[in-house]
């Protein structure tokens, strides 16, 4: 999966779970600070990424996923590892 493709899908998941307009979801956007998520929203987001990308994100890694680009980087790595 190409990075652009991953980014687009991440944006869609974030838009759906956090109820924000897709234009606000830039690569730099941080979930809690910029997109108004609370700590439970972030847990929920990680679960939604797992479902959408069919990957397992261990708790030890989930802490790294605080912004859109970090999520894309992590997923890219995970998907490559899987392939």
């Amino acid at each position: 999966m190409q990075e652009q493709e991953i980014l687009q899908k991440v944006k869609e998941v974030v838009a759906e779970r956090l109820g924000v307009e897709i234009e606000r979801i830039t690569p730099q956007a941080r979930y809690q600070e910029d997109l108004n998520a609370d700590s439970l929203d972030v847990v929920d987001l990680v679960m939604a990424f797992e479902d959408a990308f069919q990957v397992k994100i261990p708790d030890s890694e989930a802490g790294r996923i605080k912004a859109v680009q970090e999520t894309v980087d992590y997923l890219k790595e995970a998907l490559e590892g899987k392939a």
């Binding site: 956090l18 109820g19 439970l40 847990v43 929920d44 679960m47 479902d51």
Partner: protein, 411 residues
């Protein structure tokens, strides 16, 4: 501090027959039933397939989709009703002297069941982190406090079908003793889910009149066979008279007294002599300094179960003696079904209709008088009448009884 007088200055309500005060009052005056075949899910495998559902709930008037996803249906109803009530009372932000007392009977049962299915189908890792904050019975109370930044007194009474009348009573007492200036009080409930429908049916608490939904809730009728499950919320703004006068708020009624007692007899059956209810009504009359003759209207608990309606009638006769046959007593559950923990607050709003507008809501479907239920239940059609003082009664599984006495405000 001297004791404060307490008045009602705002109303919010969500039911099957009205999603705001005006719609609700109009439907009550017209004697409309909100009971139909269940539409929220396929009920065909259930013994009871009828309920009083809130259809086409206008949630978008109150929440964003993200907010709605984080609130169980019972909290959505309660928060929507609270937003209406605050708007009606023309209040904005909370503060340290503003409280919230909002109860529920069963809380977020729908969310709990959805997540139980996730657990069994997809495993523990897929269970939503929002399950607990959505299902806890105090979620409605907390979400209302958060919405209005109400930082004063809060609690969430749980006394089954008396929950929200206990909430109003507690709010009355807290304001009366000066611990809060204003309280957002009432209850919300959303119990129309297959598990609860099956469980209440197996208790033989529900009406099995599947073929005749609108005639199923028939309090005090000889052929009543159980209650009809309902859903929704009722929220009232209670405040000190001083505060209401200062704000020049519209006052629907003054609360004169509140009493509660306990059967201490059985976890679901009412105590057969009704003595705890008799004792409660006497206490409430005494606190209000009223004689039984001064009560002009009673909104009964009137569930439409064989036992409740008979024992409630007996208790009223014991307290009111000859006057019992004259005073109008109606059960608005005949139209909206039984909203469990939200019933007391929604029916208090029904009790404000005669106080505010002089229209006494009927007990619909009362066609065949029961020799054991021989009071003036305002059968079939609303009547107009001068109502100065009114009484609201609620009883819950567990033997919890609550009573509120209201008076039209005349300065």
């Amino acid at each position: 501090m001297h004791s404060q007088r307490v008045v009602i200055t705002g109303i919010g309500v969500i039911t099957s027959i009205g999603q705001n005060k005006e719609e609700f009052w109009q439907s009550l005056a017209q004697g409309r039933s909100g009971v139909t075949q269940i539409s929220a899910f396929d009920p065909s495998s259930l013994p009871v397939r009828i309920a009083s559902e809130v259809k086409d709930f206008h949630w978008k008037d109150y929440f964003t989709s993200k907010e709605a996803n984080r609130l169980d249906r019972f909290t959505q109803f309660a928060l929507a009703a609270a937003i209406q009530a605050a708007h009606d009372a023309k209040i904005q932000e909370g503060g340290e002297d503003v409280g919230v007392i909002v109860g529920s009977g069963v809380g977020g049962l729908g969310t709990l069941l959805d997540q139980e299915e996730v657990l069994s189908q997809r495993g523990a890792e897929r269970v939503s982190p929002f399950l607990i904050p959505m299902m806890i019975v105090n979620a409605a109370c907390a979400q209302i406090a958060i919405h209005f930044r109400a930082q004063g007194y809060s609690s969430a009474p749980v006394t089954a079908c008396a929950s929200s009348l206990h909430a109003l009573g507690e709010a009355f007492q807290v304001i009366k003793r000066g611990q809060a200036r204003l309280i957002i009080a009432g209850g919300g409930e959303a119990p129309i889910v297959p598990l609860a429908m099956a469980a209440f049916a197996n208790m033989k608490a529900l009406s099995f009149r599947n073929e005749e939904p609108q005639g199923a809730s028939r309090p005090f009728d000889l052929y009543r066979d159980g209650f009809v499950m309902g859903e929704g919320a009722g929220i009232l703004i209670l405040e000190s008279l001083e505060s209401a006068l200062e704000r020049r708020a519209h006052i629907y009624a003054e609360i004169l007294s509140y009493a509660c007692t306990t059967d201490a007899y059985h976890i679901s059956a009412p105590e057969p002599s009704g003595q705890a209810v008799v004792c409660m009504i006497k206490k409430a009359l005494k606190e209000a300094a009223l004689s039984p003759q001064e009560i002009d209207y009673i909104n009964a608990h009137g569930t439409s179960t064989p036992l409740n309606d008979k024992i409630e009638t007996m208790a009223l006769k014991e307290v009111f003696q000859d006057q019992a046959y004259a005073v109008p007593v109606s059960s608005t559950k005949s139209m909206i079904g039984h909203l469990l923990g939200a019933a007391g607050a929604v029916e208090t709003i029904a009790t404000l209709l005669p106080l505010d507008r002089g229209i006494i809501p009927p007990t619909i479907n009362l066609e065949h008088p029961d020799p054991d239920c021989d009071l003036n239940y305002v059968p079939q059609r609303a009547i107009s009448g001068e109502v100065k003082c009114a009484m609201k009664l609620s009883y819950g599984f567990g033997g919890h009884n609550a009573c509120l006495i209201l008076r039209r405000f005349e300065g």
